[in-house]
Point group: D2
Chain length 165, copies 4
């Protein structure tokens, strides 16, 4: 029931042919994300949508950076609040997973976000730290920075530790 490759080829070719510059920009970022996922850079298609670049900044700080572009904006030409939320969830949840014991995973129980400044510029970077960790629960905080190292959003989240099978 999935669209055939032939139809995908036609639909994408036709869409590119008539693409505005903005659409070209969005499509360029999307194909980079998809290619990156195929090469194993991202854990999920949501990760490839944001092109999440993950690493430990130091022993306590887990960091995810994403490039900004037209495809991540709201109608007011700032980063969409959902993008910032997804970045925070990915960073705080990524940190939770990193510190979860083998054979266990973690799911987001709740998350709160304060939007402080409009997200603009080349990249957003989210830094997350553990606030507390017990056998069943991890609480984290996260801060999202723009290119000038200004905090544009602040969040906290609770993650519940589950058995993976």
């Amino acid at each position: 029931m999935i669209m055939s490759k032939n139809e995908l080829q036609e639909r994408y070719a036709a869409f590119i042919e008539n693409a505005t510059e903005e659409e070209q920009n969005v499509m360029e970022e999307m194909i980079r994300g998809w290619e990156g996922k195929r090469e194993g850079q991202y854990y999920s298609f949501v990760g490839s949508w944001l092109q999440t670049n993950r690493n430990w900044k130091d022993d306590e700080t887990y960091e995810v950076t994403i490039p900004l572009h037209k495809g991540l904006e709201n109608p007011l030409s700032m980063v969409h609040g959902g993008v910032t939320a997804t970045l925070l969830d990915s960073t705080m949840g990524g940190l939770a997973n990193e510190i979860t014991p083998e054979g266990k995973g973690s799911v987001t129980l709740e998350m709160k976000i304060n939007y402080i400044k409009p997200g603009k510029g080349e990249t957003l970077r989210c830094e997350s730290k553990v606030i507390s960790k017990s056998k069943s629960m991890i609480v984290t905080e996260g801060k999202v920075y723009n290119d000038d190292n200004q905090v544009i959003a602040f969040g906290s989240g609770t993650f519940y530790i589950i058995n993976l099978k």
Copy 2:
């Protein structure tokens, strides 16, 4: 500096040629979203990513429905928490915009989400209502339902009313 149409054509054609079924599924949903945006169905590329279908359910309830697919999942094969967050922000923020006076807009000040059940199935539907409204601020709540009308997430948000120019 944007990728040329020729290069986009080549990169997309090559990616489709080697696509797995999962990738085909994700690409099908993405092209539908992009085509829909070109036709004016979505206000932003984030809207086209989620294929948001917006309407007033009744006088008090603003509703956004999205189709679910592989492209919106986390590595545990449930809807990614960021998708649910984006849906809640889009619905509550959409409601805030709908009731904001002409010439004004609204931006998300803060949002909180409780994740209650894993998001699975064909669609997610978010219903949002106003809790309070003043000259400068709107507070809303939102509930996200699965196909069986079970609440899978609950959120609340504060929106700040701004002048659009």
Copy 3:
């Protein structure tokens, strides 16, 4: 090491002797609360501080009403945000306890509050409803109303179900 009854008698008598009208008002409410606790009206001294009046408004709505007075105000002469928070926690947590199985209790995992209007008047009334309930977790919402039935605060909370021994 506790202050003797004699010393308590002296200290209270001296304090009352020099009491301002405001202090008299606060002391009157406090002794009512303490006497009520001794008679079994309140589950805790925090309950007696707020003089919480609990009942089911209907099958789905658990309600707690408190009288307002000088003792519950902040320096701006509105209800202190901590009072509203305590009322919300008592109501949502009270509801959680009411629906928790025999031999189990519930503890607050997290709570969020939106302050909408200054709390003023004779009483505050908090209504709470269950949003979701699983074996281990209850999510609730609560609204706080003033004498004119205006919502002055909105909250949501997550309660974790524990074994009582």
Copy 4:
């Protein structure tokens, strides 16, 4: 219409006469708080209820410490969630007021609290820092510590800056 001093004297004397050790303990703490308020130690009766001891720990950290006792417990003999919430609001809101320009004040717009460990021991100490500050809004975070310097609660809050007259 306020209770006369004579009646207050009688009611308090009678209550003390029959007081349990627990009640004596609670009454001792309350009279200390009230006496302290009369001497100008606390800004409000809520402050005297908690016996808040305020100071700047360092240039960036505003700190409030309170003594714990029976009067601040819930029916499970831990610190009541409303006490922790009030402490967080007082500390974060106190910080917001400290950095608000002359002639302005601040009111809590929203607050979120994660309860991490049961509150027990001799004291609770809340440390708060500014996350962001604009002309109209201050965002803060706060951590509550027990005697062993373990984080027992984490919160964040948004404060709206208002003109005081």
